[in-house]
Assembly symmetry: C2
Homo-oligomer: 232 residues x 2
DNA sequence: GGCTCCTCTTGATAATTATCAAGCCTGATT
DNA sequence: AATCAGGCTTGATAATTATCAAGAGGAGCC
């Protein structure tokens, strides 16, 4: 790995408080690679050989069964994926592919587990990260079990709106096919869900969404911090 | 806490490898209590004051939003719940109530976090438990996003069947209303899903289910280890 | 027994979501 | 400019799931 990249990695929450020597040893074993878009990184069922850290770009996690496929999440800098499989030395439960061209750090699983044993600060950071991922899935699962697809879309739009500054306009961060899969619906249904939201002041123009009545949208969406807040 | 209960607790995977002194200190701070059935233990949104360990009985995790409610999981001995909230010092994302009369160990969050720092073996056990819970939710989420309700029921029945010895008969572990909520459907729909499975050799007699054509059921269910296997 | 409560089931209907088949639009290519 | 491909939308229809209402059956109780 190029030494020029080290400070950037070191500043990630996962690594910033561990000892210098342990960090160096871990990086000695790791690879930092750039992958083109739409490249398969891992496949569900494979043994967890590496922990992945997305340094730049975006990675899509997805799962398959029965010939169906569903997007399970999008990982952006700085995020890890399949940490749980690495820690348990188990197989991956999800597949992953680059969504955009991405710079990714690969750390061999064994080194992650060894360092976890040796470095208390790293162990603490790992646990916080893992617990955060866990809570993320719980929220997704609640979203799925407690809401209709229109409600899921409305709440997702409100979240993007807040993330992007809340000035009445949102730029969709992914293409609509991907968003529909994230939300657990078909692309056709996403189109119709946008139409359903029109009376609530949601105007669609390609990947730009404009809101003319946020309050009406919120009344419909009934956002719930215990589902929609990323940080909670 | 009564000293008579200590050996039982000590033998739990979470505690068995930690140091004796740290275990004693942790237990000094903990409470072991027996609660009657259907008692609310925690409510989503509350700060995580305790880590809960189900020693005997059964606890239901559930979530609410929009006036809807859904069962998120059932915790049986020996299982923990809301570990992630405790570790992150955050609020609970799920509510919990006893399903049966249950004996539950309550450990103050702060002591869990302190001991996590002090005791490396405990930290390791915590991480394995947390990673296991995480993978459990991911599987539930895949189940929900990739399968219809009839498929979810078929696979759940096959899982119970395997757990109970696979002799062609299953005793449902919960009442049907609870099972329907776990599977993300209404009680009415569960009834109909059982009817749909009749041509596949599934015969319902109260809470006893008999299978006369497991292979047909498996062809319908298409079980997937990466969703249905508890241990993976 | 008779009563009551409760869960579960069934029927009728409605709402939600998926599927299939065009068609539209846009951006890239030639 | 013409062509083409891909993503998105729309319409028609079907499948899935939920809702509302009613009834069957069982367990507990007086």
């Amino acid at each position: 790995m190029r030494t020029a990249d080290l400070p950037q990695i070191r500043s990630l929450r996962l690594f910033e408080s561990m000892s210098e020597s342990n960090f160096e040893a871990l990086m000695q074993a790791a690879y930092l690679q750039t992958f083109p878009a739409q490249l398969d990184l891992i496949s569900e069922g494979d043994p967890a050989d590496f922990l992945y850290v997305v340094v730049e770009g975006c990675v899509e996690l997805y799962a398959r069964s029965n010939g169906r496929e569903s997007t399970m999440g999008m990982i952006r800098p700085i995020g890890t994926f399949i940490l749980a499989a690495v820690l348990r030395d188990a197989v991956y439960l999800m597949s992953a592919r680059t969504f955009q061209k991405s710079k990714i750090l690969l750390i061999p699983s064994e080194n992650v587990r060894d360092t976890f044993e040796k470095d208390e600060a790293f162990a603490r950071a790992i646990v916080l990260e893992l617990a955060g991922c866990y809570r993320g899935v719980v929220k997704e699962h609640k979203d799925m079990k407690l809401r209709t697809s229109v409600e899921r879309l409305a709440n997702r739009l409100l979240r993007y709106h807040r993330d992007q500054g809340g000035n009445g306009t949102v730029e969709l961060p992914y293409d609509k096919r991907t968003i529909s899969s994230m939300l657990g619906m078909t692309p056709e249904n996403l189109s119709r869900a946008f139409n359903t939201l029109k009376p609530y002041g949601v105007e669609v123009d390609g990947s730009t969404i404009r809101f003319s009545d946020i309050e009406a949208l919120e009344r419909l969406a009934k956002p719930n911090p215990l589902i929609d807040e990323r940080s909670m």
